[in-house]
Amino acid sequence: MTAEILEILFIILTALIMAYLIRHFTFTLTVLNHAYKRKKIAPTKNTVFQPTISILIPARNEERVIGRILQRMTELTYPRNKMQVIVIDDGSTDSTGKITEEYAEAYTCIKVIHRKQWEGGQGKASALNTGMKLAKGEIIFCFDADYYPQRDIIERLAKEFADPKVGAVQGRVTVLNEPLNLVTRLVALERTGGYRVDQQARDRLGLVTQFGGTVGGLRRDLLESLGGWDESILAEDTDLTFRVYLAGYKIRYVNDAECYEEAVESWRDYWKQRHRWAEGHMKCAFKHSFKFLKSSSLGLKEKIDGLLLLNVYFMPILVLFSWIIGVPLFFLRSSQWFRILWASIPFSLYSFVGNFAPFFEVGIGTYLDGRNRAQWLIPLLIFTFLYNILICTKAFVDLLVSKITGKNNNHWERTVHSGNGNSYIWN
């Protein structure tokens, strides 16, 4: 009897793993097909749509990187009279406030909000909501303090808002400090698969494109009608993504609007960052899954993809679970068809190695970027995959404990930025 229950569970898990495998494989083929169809150089889109914009940059103890992005803001090619930059100094104890003030004095388009130390440190969503009060632009863009965009990124992103159905837009994130060590190299590979293939395919197929909370923008009126960023959720970007879709808008991904980021540089920081993402994402799954299914403004394919996206951080745990029950079942139940199902192990490896952009997505992403040598590192993604199983399991346990005890564990573990990426920009 126990074996039968386990077998049914195993079948369900295998079906779920297969669903993700098919999804990622479809994404990869879509992007590859699109790349091959572009035999001629794609003509540059001449759409000119330049609304007024406000750029929000939340910063807490970012003295090593804040000057870099502010300098870049002054170099953007977007018309200066339509642009406003708001830095939210989130109760910094280092010289972040001083550096931002110097820029605000030199450039009229840069404004600074200084939050007191007791006000700061409540998370990115809280800082962004504070910045939003001062924002006057029709579109609100967000950049993290460690980011460094290309000069014409705003033109490339803003033109998408010419379509009134577009509620938000997302650009591509590229790792700046990639050559630093193994962690940064692997994060760079994950980013390549996640943006170059995953996000682009979702955009092309009309599925749920994700707003990443940085290197992107939203309509201010939409954001205000949604009540701004939800401060109770650690993955405020995912939460906003689903609220935008539920409000009947779409999110576009622009692959040629690129921005550098400084990736985490140690396994410890990787754990902190991914744990925050996983816990926040799981909360979003509980919050939005049912609403998304019921929504009348969404099509079937959007609903299916949205559910798969919402629940993606549960999958490493389910993969682990399928392995654990699969081994005893293999010996206890030896029917032929069950042995075929046991193939869920290679399926799950095939589908998930490389965190949430599987290795074949990463491979195609690096190939399309013309970086064949970087592909040599792909087998090492097995380590991030195994590490993510632990991270997601811990995040799930923490979430369960907080639900049971009623304590909202919403502490924002800030990623420390060392400024090591500066050398790659200045040289």
Binding site: E178, P179, A188, F331, W376
Partner: protein, 102 residues
């Protein structure tokens, strides 16, 4: 009853011998080593040109596109005569110029 049947099934699996274990462990280790070998080479002596260069402004994008045209022609050079290559290269550059004005 079910347990007895299951035990029978388990007995159907051949008894593992020490030699089998050694072969299995050696084979598996070799497989993992071979799988990771290219990664070890790349980590020891990186030849990848990373980090990826972002397109820095409109001019940079168009220079990139121009570079692509020339490199595409270079690929075909072996099949075409030198004068044909030059004519094709010039034709592509001229065709590209209106795009620069846009």
């Amino acid at each position: 009853m079910e347990l007895k049947q299951n035990l029978k099934k388990i007995r159907m699996i051949p008894n593992p011998t020490p030699t089998m274990f050694v072969i299995l462990i050696f084979g598996f280790s070799t497989l993992i080593f071979l799988m990771l070998l290219p990664a070890l080479f790349e980590l020891r002596r990186p030849k990848d040109a990373g980090p990826r260069k972002i397109m820095d402004g409109i001019l940079a994008v168009q220079q990139f596109q121009l570079g692509r045209i020339i490199s595409l022609v270079n690929v075909e050079e072996e099949k075409l005569g030198l004068d044909q290559v030059l004519v094709k290269k010039l034709a592509d550059i001229i065709a590209f110029l209106p795009n620069l004005e846009a």
